[in-house]
Symmetry: C2
Subunit: 483 residues, 2 copies
């Protein structure tokens, strides 16, 4: 059959799909996987192992699952036998019974309600109330297949169904987590890019928001502003005052707030504290406390790192009732998010209590993971800042460093000659010479003429120290080569 | 805050979301849930229990999970302890080890590749090869969050990114599973509706396909044809010859084939046999064997009914390489489908072998579920056909009966006065008087002037017999009331 007879060619493929990019799983990751296979086949490389520091995939880099999470999950999976097993503590059994009692037919193999099991949404609300000091309503919670799914669901509501200058405009930070630009491309919406200020710890400044929206207005209908806090890939933690200023801006411009708060457990810097947009908005009082806001949370980050279960939720507040009903309807055709992922989320938001048998071990495991991450955040910040030609803002939160590369003009030219962006050129060299897989800053967006890369702080501390031990040599070699 | 200050109102909400409908979880289900709560609160009703026969939710209606599936899942969840437990057979342990070896960091808590773990996709291919007698390539498999997710992913490729008469046209059967109409509405595509012939066992006739596409061409760019086999809600099983005729039609009209084959294990009628579109297309030879086809499969139906795990996959063949790369890219931003659901799918496609310790029990459990379903399919077909004013095609496959109601004109008028479609009016009466929750045929589409409802055959046989025991009385009362 001739290719011309195909329904789908690059010419007929949905042009929005063609435009999508998702750098975290882009060409450099494919090359890293190829290198892994070459090593397996005995190839001689200047490194023994490829370290995939491109993605926030906690267990992949050796982080151990939290025992209590897995105990509860095993119990809800195979209760007939395991409920009688001495290998499980009573609080894990009680929790499993509670979850199974909420499932139709007593099985996690049945569909839940489309927004998730009510019993788990109720636990999520208790977590949010405890975190913020403000009430939360289970009807405002929609659970999801990872946070990404919830983000796309809410974005879908905001689309205009129109093209050209009537497209929905969604404000996103630059640098940003590329799910946002990918979803905006897929939905044929318009990205309104606001730059974070690298010179001031990647701060989010209202003057820049004003510039961005003003320039975008001829091209779209601005509908929403997305804020990632703690930042990905940039690692900043917003202050309460900064969040207030964003909320005021959103109110002035009539924007729906999308608060990506999946790293809310990952706060490292002295003096940094996590404030949810919900809490700040509630405490600002009317009219701000009636503004529409969706806050996203994930089972994949924090101390648990249960990426594979694809658990997540959004708290979506202040929708008019008719729109809330439409949101519920819009998720019903997806049936429901994975019930096992919902169960993981239940343990995350409602961990063992101090009087329960698993409390001590759970707390120890959680604190260990967080303490390690904190140490790694400090280590990478200091390391990168100790090297000529690199500057790196403090990793205040989240799981990534986003160092800036001050590259000589000859390196930029060499990259151009190789058909790559300068940071991509650098990251490929880092992969080929050191076996470290990172993501070029251009995949997240950056100020023109600046170059970065994103590296996760997830590899185990000794591995991270070993792998980055020779980083300085690599970098100085690279600089010398293009001096 | 005034509602006029809200970003989202019914006027500004994405109009495509407003248009979506998904009847399987529509208003009648909300009423059923309300009735359940009234019963809990001690309300006096003509029934003791609400039977939710609206949705193919196997475990919810008492079907037991397959033991081997749950053993493997428990083992991959909590291997440190359970691998040493005497409660698990060796073949379950071996399988769990194989799956964990495929997971990064040896944990199902890490992300898999976006199309799913290669080891599991390889098992899927072996299943398909064994089923069809034709090779299958792991690169052609994309695993998904239930089949629905994969269906939407493939549909997304087929969109034109344009509006009006340049929209993508997707042929769907009427009656159809409403995921299709909901996704088409969400994507602003154009549904090209072809009617199944109720007078001939819901057959799929090429003349009708030709009529439908001819009438639709001024309104859209036809891109794909969706076929559900075995049928949902209609329960027909297509013959090989019928499938050949659809493939020829798709070739003539240059359509991508979307084959919804999630009920491939659910074949009941004597003389009915499942033929996959892939097998038929391959055996037709060129040019047909090079046509683009996506076949969808789910962990939620068949004999396993593991709806809550949200496992599914598509085999997508004959894409041009550039388009296949775009498909891979397009799913990368979703990261991956739930790994626990992938593990469930692995057991489904690669069950215990005859020489393994779990073979006997697995086979016994599987055969029991299928035998029960077969008996129920026969029971409901016979029951409905024994009642005046109802006709029902044989439930040849899948999990639903879709009986036709021959309603007197006064019932149609009464429905109109109540602001309901006649079948919705009937289904609400059935719910209020008998406690049986079904879905009105209008939610799936039907020939104008005909009325149906969909009822699952999933409730346990004794319950089904008890619940439907008085169905005849209800129906005759209803007829008498509107005579």
């Amino acid at each position: 059959m001739d290719a011309r007879d195909k329904v789908l060619t690059m010419d007929t493929l949905n042009p929005c799909v063609r435009e999508m990019e998702y750098a975290v799983r882009g060409p450099i990751v494919a090359r890293a996987t190829a290198l892994e296979n070459e090593l397996k086949d005995g190839a001689d490389k200047p490194f023994k192992k490829v370290v995939k520091a491109n993605i926030g995939d906690c267990h992949a880099t050796g982080q151990k699952p939290i025992t209590f999470i897995r105990q509860v999950l095993a119990l809800v999976t195979y209760p007939d036998v395991l409920m009688n097993s001495p290998d499980f503590p009573d609080d894990a059994k009680d929790r499993a019974k509670k979850i199974l009692a909420a499932c139709r037919g007593g099985s996690i193999g049945s569909y839940s309600e489309s927004p998730g099991l009510l019993a788990i949404r109720t636990d999520i609300c208790a977590y949010i109330e405890n975190r913020d000091g403000h009430p939360s309503n289970p009807d405002d919670i929609i659970m999801s297949t990872g946070a990404s799914d919830a983000i796309k669901t809410i974005m879908t509501l905001l689309l205009t169904g129109k093209g050209g200058s009537e497209r929905a405009g969604i404000m996103i930070p630059v640098p940003q987590y590329p799910l946002y630009s990918a979803a905006i491309a897929e939905f044929n919406a318009y990205p309104i890019r606001y730059y974070l200020n690298e010179d001031n710890h990647w701060s989010l400044e209202v003057d820049e928001l004003k510039r961005a929206i003003k320039e975008a207005k001829p091209n779209c209908q601005p509908r929403a502003i997305c804020v990632i806090n703690p930042g990905n890939p940039t690692g900043q933690v917003l202050t309460k005052e900064n969040i207030e200023s964003v909320i005021k801006f959103a109110r002035d411009e009539k924007l729906f707030i999308l608060a990506d708060e999946v790293y809310q457990h990952n706060i490292w810097a002295k003096g940094s504290k996590f404030f949810s947009f919900k809490k700040v908005l509630m405490e600002m009082g009317e009219p701000y406390s009636s503004m529409e806001l969706a806050s996203f949370m994930s089972a994949s980050k924090g101390f648990m790192g249960e990426c594979g279960y694809r658990g997540g939720y959004a708290e979506v507040i202040n929708l008019v009732p008719e729109v809330r009903a439409q949101l519920t309807k819009s998720i019903s055709a997806k049936l429901c998010p994975p019930v096992s992922g919902q169960a993981v989320m239940d343990v995350i938001v409602n961990p063992p209590h101090p009087e329960e048998p698993s409390y001590e071990q759970f707390t120890k495991e959680k604190e260990h993971v967080l303490a390690q991450l904190k140490e790694k955040a400090k280590f990478v910040t200091e390391l990168f800042n100790s090297i000529e030609g690199i500057t790196c803002n403090e990793v205040q939160g989240a799981m990534y460093a986003f160092p800036r590369l001050h590259l000589p003009p000859k390196a930029v030219e060499a990259a151009k000659a190789a058909g790559k962006t300068p940071d991509s050129f650098y990251c490929f060299a880092l992969l080929e010479e050191m076996g470290i897989c990172t993501v070029p800053g251009s995949g997240f967006g950056e100020q023109p003429g600046t170059y970065h890369f994103r590296i996760t702080i997830l590899p185990q501390l000794d591995e991270l120290k070993e792998v980055l031990g020779n980083f300085k040599d690599f970098h100085l070699r690279f600089l010398a080569k293009y001096k």
